[in-house]
Every structure is written in C-alpha cells, then in structure tokens.
Amino acid sequence: MRKQFITACLYTLVTTVLLGLGYPLAVTGLAHLLMPAKANGELIAKDGVVVGSKLIGQSFTGPGYFNGRPSAAGTGYDAANSSGSNLGPTNATLIARVDQSVHAWQTREAQHENAHTNVPIDLVTTSGSGLDPDITVAAAEYQVASVAQVRGLPKDQVAQLVKAHIEPRQFGVLGEPCVNVLELNLALDAMAAQRK
C-alpha cells in the first residue's frame, strides 16, 4: 500500500510534466510553426488596427450594417465572457424577447417588400456561444433592402455582395451555408468608400 502510494505520487509528478506541460507546449510550438495566423485566432487588421476576429461575432445593431444575431454573452458579443441565454422553450422571458425582436425587425423593414414576411429565426434567437459570427443566407437577404437604402447603395449591388459572401457547406456536405457578418460588413464599408 505504501509503495503504491509513493508510485501514485511519482506517477502524478512525471505525467504532469509530460502531459500537462510537454504536450501543450509542443502543440503550441508546432501550431505556431505551421499555422501562426490560425493559432492566434485569425485576427483581421484594418489600417494596422485589429478590428476583430474572422471567427468571433461582433455586435451590429444599427441599420447601416448587416446585423448579427442577438447575443447573451456579457452585454452582447463579449468575447471574454461567452454565454448562451439558457432560456427554456416555455420561458415567458424568451417568448417576450423574441416577440420584441420580431416587432423591431418588422418596424425596420416596414417600407420594404419583406415587411410582411416572417423574420428568419436566427435573427431573433441568441446563439449557443453568444459569439456566432454567422447568419443564415435568408437572414442576410432579408436585410439587403434596408441596408442598401441607409447606405445609399444600389440594392442589386448589395445583393451581389451578399451572394459573394455566402459560405457554402464545407466540402459541399458539412454544416449549413452561412454568411460571416463581420466580413460582409467590412466589404460593405469598402464598397461604400469606393463610391464616394
């Protein structure tokens, strides 16, 4: 028993060095050697300033940008405090929040042809992480008319921009098609700047 106890102590020590330090540091080294940008979070820089990560959603709520999904992370898209809403399907708070979002969208889109269509589900629900970088294609197309109007851009050009940013299923099979909101909005800014 005493011998087993000593072995247990030594075994914990040795394997901690191997698995707790050696392994993660080796992987870190290899990752930085082979794929440094990916290992650091695919940060996007604009004019030398980091404006976000391709993978991490940002809060867009104004009418001049394509909006992402509502977020339950911190005060919204807090990437140092990821969280879902964890509201259950029969929670009155959830249903009221969705109703409110639907109403806000229908008000914003009131003068456009989609005024009376149902709002795509992802635009009124929070994601699991609160940091979802994507929206569905339906959600992007839903916003084209109002974004184009606020930005003073031709609608078909904005629609084209959305089309160019659709990420299809990976390898044609996996996941769901989606649109990265930050990348789309950066392209939108670039398009607006070009016209000036």
Partner: protein, 591 residues
C-alpha cells in the same frame, strides 16, 4: 429535417464503423503488449517512466490491488489539481491575473475532472489561468480517460482469463493507454483543429476596435440606468486546441471557454465539429472490437456495438425531429426549412451547425459520457432536451465514456445473460463462465447506485427552496428538468448541463462533487469485483442450453434490458419534467 441533415448523420456513423475495427485491434495489441508500429518511439519512454515512478511492469495485480492503485492515483492527482487551482495566481502563465479559485469551487472542479465528468460550475475564461487549464484540467483529461480504459481492459481480462487471480497491472495499462493511444492521437488531432481555426497560444486576451460601437445600458450604484458606449471587444485566447483534442478523445467534455464547443475558438467549422464528434465515439467504439478480440469472440464485440448503434439512432432521430419542428410559442418567425435557412429551434444554436449537427452533437456527447456541447441543451425543445437526459440515464453505455462505457455495458450484458438464463431455466453462462449469485449481486449494485444518486439528490434538492430552487433559471417543469439534468449529468460523469442552473453555490458545488465521485468510484468497485470473480472461474464448454451472445437475438435482448431498466427507473421523473413541458408547450403555456 433535410436530406442533407440525415446524410450528415449517416456519414458520421459510417465513419465510426470504419474507425472502430482498426482502432480496436490496435488497442488490443497495445494492452496485450504485442508489437505495434509506435514501439521504437514509445518503448524507451515507457521504460523510463516505469523506472522514474517505481512501477514493476511485470507484476500482476488482484482486483483489490488494481482497485487500490487506481484509487490512490485518482486521490493524489485530484489533490494536486485542487492545489494548483488554489495557488494559480502565484504561478506562471496567468496573463489575465486571475485570483486563486475559491475553495469549494476548486474542490468541485477537482472532483469533476478526476471523475472524468468535467462538470463546470465556473466560467473558464474569467476564472482559470492557462497553467491551470493545461497542467491541471487538460492533464486530468488524459489521466481520467486512461484510468477508464485500464478498468475496461481489466474487466475484459476478467471475462477472458480462466482460473486466474489477477487482472493485469494498473500502472502498465494506464501508461500504455496514454502513450500508445491518447497522446499520439491528440497531437495529430490538435493540429487538425488548429488548421480549422481553433486557437493555440499563451498570449493575453486581444482587444479589437469595433466597426460599430455598442450602446450598453447598465445600472449604477444607485440603481439608475446608465448608457455607456463600448468601442472595443476583448477576445479571450489560450492553449485551446491541445485541450480540445483530449477533451473530446477522452470523453471529458470540459470546455476551455464557458460555452464549450459552441464557442467559435473551440469549434470553428463544420469539419472541426465532425472531427470532434468522431473523437468522442472513436475509442469507445473501438473498445467493443478490442473486447471481441481479447475474448476471442469478435462477433460478440460487434453484437454489443450493434446494441449501442440502435440506441444511438433512436436518440438522434428523436432529437433531430424535435429540434427541427421549432418552437410553437414563437410567432412571426420563419422556422421552416427553406433553400436559404435550416430553420428549427435556433435558440442556443450556432448557424454554422444548424439543427442537424446540433441534434447530432447533443446525442453523441451524452451517449458517450463526454458532456461537451455545441448548443445549449437548456434551450432545446422539451423532447429534444429529454434525449440527452435519457441517454445519460441509460447509464452512459451507448458507446459511453472511454472505458467506462464498455465496462458499464458489460454489466448490462451480464444482466441480460442472467435474464436469458432465467427464461430457459438454466444456469446462465457468459462466454463459457457461469454467472452466479455473487456476480449478479455486484452487477445489481452497480446498476442501483446510479438512480439512487440521481433521484435521491434531485428529490432532496427540489425540497430546499433556498439552497436548491433559488439557483433555477427557468420556472415550471423546465426548472425540475434543470435540477434532474444536473444530478443525472454528475452521476453519469457526463458534465453537460442545462446551463441556466446557477451551480456555483456551496450547496450545488458540494452535492454535485459527492455525486460525481460516487458515480465514478462507487460503481467501479462492484465492477472490479465482478471482473476479479469472473477471472477465477473455469470455462465450461458450450452446450445446447448456452445462450449465444453473438446473435441479433442477443443484441435485441440487451437493448431491451437497458431500455426497460432505464424506463422503469426514470419514467416518473421524466413525466414531471420534459414530457409535461412538451404537452404544456403545445397547449400554449409559458412560465
């Protein structure tokens, strides 16, 4: 539901079938100490490790010695984890300067990771230093998985050996599981994850300048609403990929970030999602083949695999159907599948995964005792959320945790053989071993500890308004589901949660720690006793009265026994939770 969705689910399972055989045969070689292609690299490391730690590699252990070695190692490594958490602020690799983890939370976490549960009462990115995550938490992801694998192999030896008193050497089995299986696969897998965008660094959190500054309404000390403008986003970083790989492969499930595999830095693409799901099932599926080979009855291994497969498809079909239907209480929203969106109940789910991959992940992670999540189970529809809960309640044997799934399943195999024996009135035999009173008593002890923990603690908790109910995030039947899920997850060593429940209180941290440790170690002891007792027995030649364990009939009987034991035990509790909530949801009731 879409054709593509079903195709992705079928593709996933096909890949598991393809992985199981080669990996299973490889693991049989590893544990029977035959030659493998990694020997030139690993054998010297193995010898060095034994020399440094004083392991006598050729000494065989009786089941009691095997159990004591396992318990001592678990105890010592658990205390070390507790210690690391309690002093992390003075240790390196803490760029965000997190303080030491409070005692009760540190205890809960240490128990949780030692028991291969990875229940998380804390928010990792605001609590744990990089060192704690690497050397404390990810370390236990390796060792608790290796312990599980060693125990499963001990059980298999109990079945295959005849007239022997020993089950192998715990240290050797654990070491070979780590060096030959977990570590090499993790290194390759971690790099594959980085290629998809999973981060791997030791730098402080980044700050990004937002394109559109954010208006945030907060309350000041006097309770007045204050509008602040936020122009930056802090982006948490860390050595994620290395931890992610072993978190999945070892069916541990503890996220580097609070939202686990829903977080884009843990699971950025549908391909990373597929890899992660495959990693959850790979070893557990392979071990059924290992078992078949080590007992010289490969078809028995596949018969067990088939029972697991049937239960897997039953779960994923139900979850996918329920989630794709959406939430009938939401109005003015498009929840139907169309050419441009997957539709369904998207609250708590990520767009890149959609419904099919969220339902599949939830099923896989709870079939195995992983507990990682790529969507929030708390926000699933009532029946969709019941699937993960039922998967755990069946005993974590649908592939199950690495090792734990197999030995759990073998206990049910013994019960099935026993019941088949009763039906024909002969002494039950399992692969030539007579199953006698002692074996069945120990097997029943294993089976009964589990519901006793879940239902006992749930019942007590819902009667405690200040300690138990004040932590609920949702009212009505969903609130009961939250508590029931928490204790189910803890006892089953799963670790996923209906995460609205605020479990970071002294009451929940302590009770859940007790349940996690009992759910692991109180169940291992009777299992090892069965293994030790079986190893001592003679092999009787098969006769006309022997119930064959390689046929579809056996698979059906085994599945039936599992479902009946689970249903009889938990149906009343489920009726008051998810089933009631489902009926009320379609009646238009909110809480």
């Amino acid at each position: 539901m879409t054709e593509n969705g079903w195709f992705q689910i079928a593709l996933f399972f096909l890949l598991i079938v393809l992985i199981a055989r080669p990996l299973g045969i490889y693991m049989a070689d590893v544990f029977e100490r035959r030659k493998t292609f990694l020997d030139p690299l690993l054998a010297p490391i193995e010898r060095l490790l034994y020399r440094l730690t004083g392991v006598e590699a050729d000494k065989e252990m009786r089941w009691t010695e095997y159990g004591i070695a396992m318990l001592l190692f678990s105890l010592v490594s658990m205390l070390v984890l507790y210690l690391i958490e309690r002093v992390q602020t003075w240790l390196p690799w803490n760029p965000q300067h997190w303080p030491n983890v409070p005692a009760v939370l540190a205890l809960n976490t240490a128990a949780s990771f030692t028991a291969n549960t990875n229940w998380q009462s804390y928010v990792p990115e605001t609590t744990m230093s990089y060192l704690t995550q690497m050397a404390g938490l990810a370390y236990h992801n390796f060792t608790s998985a290796a312990v599980g694998m060693a125990l499963a192999i001990a059980m298999v030896r109990g079945i295959s050996r005849r007239e022997q008193n020993t089950l192998g050497n715990f240290w050797v089995d654990a070491t070979r599981a780590i060096l030959w299986v977990l570590l090499p696969i993790s290194i390759v897998f971690a790099l594959a994850l980085v290629s998809q965008g999973v981060v791997q660094n030791l730098r402080p959190y980044d700050t990004a300048r937002l394109l559109e500054s954010q208006k945030v309404v907060t309350q000041d000390s006097a309770g007045r609403s204050v509008t602040q403008t936020v122009a930056t986003q802090t982006i948490a970083q860390g050595p994620v990929a290395s931890q992610e790989a072993i978190k999945m492969l070892g069916t541990n499930g503890g996220g580097f970030f609070n939202t686990n595999s829903a977080h884009p830095f843990e699971n950025p693409t549908p391909f990373s999602n597929l890899l992660e799901m495959l990693a959850i099932f790979a070893i557990a599926a392979g071990l059924t083949v290992t078992m078949g080979h080590m007992t010289h009855s490969p078809r028995h291994g596949w018969a067990v695999f088939a029972a697991m497969g049937i239960l897997f498809f039953a779960g994923v079909t139900t979850a996918y159907w329920a989630e794709a239907r959406g939430n009938p209480l939401m109005h003015g929203v498009a929840q139907q599948t169309s050419a441009t969106q997957a539709g369904g109940n998207m609250e708590g789910k990520e767009v890149r995964f959609g419904i099919a991959n969220s339902a599949l992940f939830a099923t896989v992670t709870t079939d195995a005792s992983c507990g990682a999540v790529n969507g929030m189970h708390d926000s699933f529809t009532p029946l969709g959320g019941m699937v993960p809960m039922v998967n755990i309640m069946l005993g974590e044997i649908i592939f199950g945790g690495v090792g734990a799934g197999l030995y759990g399943m073998l206990i049910f195999v013994i019960l099935s053989v026993f019941i088949a024996g009763l039906m024909v009135g002969r002494t039950p035999e399992y692969l030539g071993k007579k199953i006698e009173a002692y074996d069945v008593k120990m097997a029943m002890l294993y089976v009964l500890v589990f519901p006793l923990l879940i239902l006992g603690f749930t019942a007590v908790t819902v009667l405690l308004p200040h300690l138990g109910l004040s932590s609920l995030a949702n009212a009505g039947p969903h609130g009961l589901s939250e508590v029931l899920y928490a204790f189910t997850s803890a006892a089953g060593n799963n670790g996923s949660a209906f995460a609205g429940l605020n479990a970071n209180t002294n009451y929940y941290n302590l009770t859940l720690a007790i349940v996690m440790l009992c759910g692991r170690f109180l169940m291992i002891v009777p299992m090892l006793a069965v293994a030790g007792n079986l190893a001592r027995k003679k092999i009787a030649p098969a006769s006309a009265g022997t119930f064959p364990v390689t046929t579809p009939l056996f698979t059906i009987l085994l599945t039936g026994v599992i479902v009946i034991v689970g249903a009889l035990t938990f149906f009343p509790a489920l009726t008051l939770g998810p089933i009631l909530e489902h009926l009320l949801m379609y009646a238009g009731k909110t809480f």
